[in-house]
């Protein structure tokens, strides 16, 4: 009961904030929440399971495009479109993960890099199905039980997504499955000797986090009511990696801090350095890797244990 009220409190607080913000800030707030959801998932894959993949944004895009195409081109009802969208993510994730995790280490990185590139090419060349370089626009979220969710009330949906993602990942992390993931990351041979099926653990972690990215993509599709290719490219996939490293990989709190900080940083930096904030990110990531591999959350831990 205590934990339930905690979750409820977090939901009310985070979604309540949206009603106090103006349109512009609400938009910034929502996008930040989406980055948090993505970073949480990517942290599980990269930080906890130790898999280097660049396909997280591709799955975000697969989710977004799937739900839009299913709803507005194939006229599938919303609940079914969501289920099918998740199913598509799962199938694609399995198709990438099963062959590449059977090979050693580096191959997943290569396969997901290829997938991410291929996905953008498909979007650009998809003709009327994907809308080509312009993407798809001018659609609206169907009514849900007679309600049309928009503005701050749609932000509540995003808050729900973040909390759901966090709930699932935290539960997994604190279970035998999360320990198996960490064991696979730290020492695959020892993990196998303890009875952990290394390949299977990797495939499950990859598929699950990819599906979560897909769900986030579906929610994203109705934030701007437009989906277009540049969002789902490699730039953002690398930014996600930076967020997790700067915040502290392997820790949920680290992922949240990294996502919030690196998302908001350009807003403060652009008056100072214009569009060169990527340069600042590069320096931050290098500093994190060289000086504090445990990221900002590692700094915080160190500070707390000293005081």
């Amino acid at each position: 009961m205590k934990t339930l009220s905690g979750w409820l409190g977090a939901f009310l607080l985070l979604s309540g904030a949206a009603f106090l913000l103006g349109d512009y800030h609400n938009d910034v707030y929502r996008k930040m929440l989406l980055w948090v959801a993505l970073a949480l998932g990517y942290n599980f894959l990269f930080g906890i399971c130790g898999q280097v993949a660049f396909s997280h944004f591709a799955f975000y895009g697969i989710g977004a495009y799937s739900v839009v195409i299913l709803l507005f081109q194939l006229n599938v009802p919303l609940p079914l479109a969501v289920v099918l969208g998740v199913a598509i993510c799962v199938v694609v994730a399995l198709a990438v993960a099963i062959p590449s995790t059977r090979l050693e280490g580096f191959y997943l990185a290569l396969a997901t890099l290829a997938l991410a590139q291929l996905f953008v090419v498909i979007l650009n060349e998809g003709g009327t199905v994907t809308g080509g370089t312009g993407g798809i626009a001018n659609y609206r979220l169907p009514e849900i039980f007679g309600f049309r969710l928009r503005g701050p009330s749609y932000t509540a949906v995003i808050v729900l997504l973040v909390l759901f993602t966090y709930f699932v990942l935290r539960k997994l992390d604190r279970s035998w499955f999360g320990r198996a993931c960490r064991a696979v990351r730290d020492n695959p041979e020892a993990a196998a000797a303890m009875g952990v099926d290394v390949a299977r653990t990797k495939v499950i972690a990859f598929t699950l986090t990819s599906a979560l990215a897909g769900v986030a993509g579906m929610v994203y599709a109705f934030v701007d009511n437009t989906v277009n290719p540049p969002i789902f490219g490699l730039d953002n996939a690398f930014l996600l990696l930076f967020m997790v490293i700067v915040g502290g990989s392997g820790r949920h709190a680290g992922a949240v801090i990294g996502a919030v900080l690196l998302f908001l940083l350009p807003f403060w930096l652009s008056p100072l350095v214009g569009h060169h904030h990527v340069l600042v990110f590069g320096v931050l990531v290098l500093a994190a890797i060289l000086l504090q591999p445990k990221g900002l959350i590692g700094l915080y831990d160190g500070w707390r244990s000293r005081s």
Binding site: N187, A191, A192, V196
Partner: protein, 253 residues
Amino acid sequence: MTAGVLEVRRLTKRFGGLTAVTGLDFDVLEGEILGMIGPNGAGKSTTFNLIAGTYPATSGEVRFAGESILGLPPHRIAARGVLRTFQHNRPFDGMSVLENVLVGAHTRFHMGVFSRKASNEEAQRRRRAEELIEFVGLTDVRDAEVTTLSFGQGRLLEIARALAGEPRLILFDEPAAGLTPAELERIAGIIRGIAARGIAVLLIEHDMHFLLPLAQRVVVLNFGAKIADGLPDQIRADPAVTDAYLGSHAAAR
């Protein structure tokens, strides 16, 4: 003679032209400490890795609890109840001592992550892991990061982690390597305690002074073949063993 928990028959392993293990036969009985010794390159580690599933065998048979385990991947062999320690400690660095031991219990979790009974199972396994940590004497560092452990503590962790998998057979790969005399005595006591619980112990060891007082039976390998098999006292007196192993090695000590 009672059938062993582990039965190894005509086990052979060739690496290209090199025959590392030739026609090896031996059994390990329940609650018994079987020592396996031999000079460097005698095939001890290869035998160990064949049983644990790290390498495929060229021919022969390995039966555990009456069923063939040869050709199974390591994680399936562990799930059957054959757990191992590593000669060079291989902890999971990013985790605490307790979590490391809980990874050892991986195959003993049967509830789904989101199942209602999952937290009961987790609590039960955690208590069991704490008992094992106490058994090997690491209670003081239970919540410490494993990177802060000494080498000897790391070896104790290897043992607790393997025990968490509830083995019927535990394989020790040179557990004495790199330990101080005080730590050796401690490990010997722990290994006796494990066998006393009815667990079969296969102990591969280089250090005769550690192994002979501890093992109930000893198998001696040289050039990949068994050259002797018997009680520690018989092994000490066996001229073939003295020639192959003790002659050069014991004199140096």
